[in-house]
Symmetry: C2
């Protein structure tokens, strides 16, 4: 049995950015999540692809130990998405979406999958997310994500889902739209009222914030002057976050949750440095930990105590 | 002799935000800077007001120990600015600017002012900033700020000034406009090439980043779900930063520079919680230090070492 079950999309993405382009490359929310989480925990993926899904992409996931028993190959074509990013890497312009076999995605979990202690319901129809959750046998930790499309079309279903979720990941724009709040912090307050004990708001290049109980924690992004392709950064973040957390001693310990934020940030920073999943396909855990500590060093505030003590000594 | 000399505007601001309004309240870049820096170092202010400048505003600065010998009262009216903020607190819409006596501002420094070890050239005409700097007698640390108006009208003068400056403060939009760089990090790289050994890019609610040598340091903002008036946040940040740094043992020590970022962040967070300068007029140093440590706690990443050690022990 795997530590984490992820249910979501597996896709072929064609992306143009100011740094170049990729054509029908490996993508999808469950893909990015699973690869990222795989450096910390064992992951089983539930999704659907078409008969045209390249064998090499399947192997990419298998090489990272991702359990693909739940990745069905259905008759038809794999989900395809194409998009374009301008100078503002925060927002993709969708050029085309072909759901193909993903349109009929109705996951039925196996006995082993139902028993996973941690489940991540990646960005799919919120009613489907609830149906998947109903199949689980008392998971210790439930997390989910969503996107604008569902926020516009099924906000009530998202709200209903959130009542059963422990950790909700959202980007700032989506969180504000879903709640009607004027800023990310107020949005997180509303979202926490709906159920999740932990709300994570992702702000892309501006970092992320996390609400745990009544307290906000704040984290900058890893500083990168040049990025190639922001696609999948949010799911890669969630993968690093939950992958680390699932491997930790406690899901509620604030120290672990803060490290989870930093591992999410670290994994997302690797992801955006190349197209598709290229830069998160074969990292080394030591390389990840090195950047984790480098990030900590770049944002650490040395305590002022010693300085204050010295100042008072001089003043006295 | 004061620790820091600040040259800039002293104004009467009328501001509308979603939280209310203020009318002809104390404002100006030198005002916010001086009040904020005064909690850490002694400050002398050079500026000009009209004969209508309220006595109470002068006393507000004097109560914080700000040396106002350089604040001239000229014939005419005080500089007035009025602006409006919508839901997006990042950008003010200017409703009116009346430079009044500030139009003829030509600071001539006294002997004592010329000897200040630290000088902050707040947002005024960059040619005037250079003239002020030329009057200084070998300051140990020179810092400056600027704004869009000068970036549009006198970019060459700003570039010339930066060659003589140690620390440059800018917000992200201005830095990108001045350099033509597509993001804040690349803008900081260009700005550092022009001269300053430290470049600080302020991003409002998204925090700030600092380039020292070849290294970027990153800091989130203090999390506030509700703010009343963002006016002066940038100058208050610079005041906390330089006020702390001027009081420290070394202007080049990275630990001090990181604490300076956190004190800048802390002071700005107090400032935006009320209109005008109300919330930075009589703070206590202990209250400031408490929020400084609270900020550090909210962004601290507990080192992963212990966890990794435990994980390896289990694996072995």
């Amino acid at each position: 049995m795997s530590d984490i079950l992820v249910v979501g999309s597996v896709a072929l993405d064609s992306v143009k950015t100011t740094a170049g382009k990729s054509v029908e490359a490996l993508g999808g929310s469950a893909t990015y999540f699973a690869l990222s989480a795989s450096y910390f925990s064992s992951v089983a993926l539930v999704g659907v692809v078409g008969q045209d899904f390249p064998r090499e992409h399947r192997r990419t996931l298998e090489r990272r130990g991702v359990d693909l028993e739940g990745l069905k190959a259905a008759k038809g074509k794999t989900f395809r998405w194409s998009g374009k990013y301008g100078k503002d890497a925060a927002n993709a312009e969708t050029l085309a979406t072909h759901l193909n076999v993903f349109k009929e995605f109705k996951p039925v979990l196996s006995e082993a999958q139902r028993k996973a202690p941690v489940v991540f319901l990646a960005n799919i129809d919120p009613e489907l997310q609830s149906e998947v959750l109903a199949q689980m046998k008392g998971p210790a930790l439930v997390a989910c994500d969503t996107m604008n499309y569902w926020i516009e079309s099924k906000p009530a279903a998202i709200k209903k889902l959130l009542a059963k979720v422990d950790i909700f990941f959202s980007n700032d724009q989506e969180a504000m739209r879903l709640t009607g709040a004027p800023n990310a912090l107020q949005a997180a307050e509303v979202l926490a009222d709906w159920g999740p004990s932990v709300v994570v708001i992702k702000k892309g290049e501006h970092g992320a914030l996390m609400k745990v109980g009544s307290k906000f924690f704040v984290f900058p992004a890893y500083p990168l002057a040049r990025i190639k392709d922001p696609t999948g950064a949010g799911d890669t973040f969630a993968g690093g976050f939950l992958g680390y957390l699932a491997s930790s001693a406690s899901y509620k310990d604030v120290a672990h949750l803060k490290r989870a934020m930093a591992y999410g940030t670290t994994m997302a920073s690797f992801n955006v440095q190349d197209f598709s999943t290229k830069n998160i396909e074969d990292l080394e855990r030591d390389v990840i930990d090195e950047r984790f500590h480098d990030l900590a060093e770049r944002m650490m505030i040395p305590r002022a105590d010693e300085f204050l003590k010295a100042r008072r000594a001089v003043a006295a």
